[in-house]
Amino acid sequence: MMAPLLKYGVFGSETSLVVAFLIGLGFGFALERAGFGSARKLVSQFYLNDMAVFKVMFTAIITAMLGVTYLSWIGVLNLSLVYLVPTFLLPQVVGGLILGVGFVVGGYCPGTALAATATGRIDGVVFGIGLYAGTLLFAEAYPLLKPLHTATPMGQVTIPQYLNLPYGVVVFAVVLMAIGGFAGAGWVEKKMADSCQP
């Protein structure tokens, strides 16, 4: 059996919409379980009280990363058929900064805003409206933004490719960094909690 299953014709594009729904179901469930349907919890990351955002995100990343590595190592997953968003370094750096600011101003990101809306958070709904407005604004202003948006194209490139390191080495390094990060996060949380005690 070869994966990605859709690309190997195991099911058609109509069925893939059902798959999309089911995956979304899992996604939304996991997000809310982690408490990401709450802006308060999300922004607590950036006030250093609660490092859940960092922990959840990076645990998810290394889980999926290890899964992908092992599955493609045994030949079940054809990694070249998994879509890799092309790298445009400058707009992604700038976009990341803007997105980070938006995250802390609004208290959500698109996925968590949807989760928040589902659980009744009105600020999540308003955030979503802001998302649409911002998207429309971007579309209207595109002629001005196009030079930035298409700057520094680097094609589809991974970190192992860029640093010319074996894939497994980078995977191991990322796992180490994550574990270190988690330990650090726990330490920071404890420090903040201690300093809050009267």
Binding site: L31, A39, K55, Q92, I98, F103, G111, A118, T135, L136
Partner: protein, 177 residues
């Protein structure tokens, strides 16, 4: 706290690592089944494209960034991300109901007005949309999915998100007072 009170209180959040593993497995499923990652900002642009196309089709076609989605007999709403978004909504609702965390409210600090917080939410959403459009993704699409695939641009993006957020956090504390 009486027994009945504590049983109606919202359940505590899950261990973040366990939630993260769950999220990671969902992401892996997306890779294995469909060969793409999760993504949320794309659903928004698909919806904007569809909405604009309904109200003002000529204008929609004239916008370069959106017109690419209107090629041929493509119907933007019949997009993978939209069905995924539907699932996210229902999945979160389910989890919220199970954990007694689903109730209509505005998340904000006790001493700030609802209007101010909602203004903040709106502004944040607008900024985030621009950032996600520039970066070709948001935290789910770029950071999570691209991160797991060791995509160079995704990791750069992710670091910048944290940088930007931490830089501005102090100025946004007022929403949580």
């Amino acid at each position: 706290m009486s027994d009945t009170q504590s049983s109606r209180a919202p359940a505590p959040y899950s261990n973040p690592y366990l939630a993260g593993i769950g999220l990671g497995l969902v992401l892996l499923a997306a890779f294995v089944f469909v060969g793409r990652g999760l993504g949320a900002s794309g659903a928004v642009s698909a919806a904007v494209t569809a909405g604009l196309h309904t109200i003002a089709p000529d204008h929609a076609h004239s916008l370069e960034w959106l017109s690419g989605r209107l090629v041929g007999d493509q119907r933007p709403l019949k997009d993978w991300l939209v069905f995924e978004g539907l699932g996210v909504f229902l999945g979160a609702l389910l989890s919220g109901l199970l954990a007694r965390r689903a109730f209509v409210t505005v998340e904000k600090g006790p001493r700030v007005s609802t209007r101010a917080r909602l203004a903040g939410a709106f502004a944040g959403g607008g900024l985030m949309a621009v950032g996600a459009a520039l970066a070709l993704g948001c935290t789910s699409g770029q950071a999570l999915s691209g991160g797991a695939l060791l995509n160079l641009g995704s990791w750069a993006f992710m670091m910048m998100v944290f940088a930007g957020a931490y830089a501005v956090a102090a100025f946004m504390k007022w929403q949580w007072r």
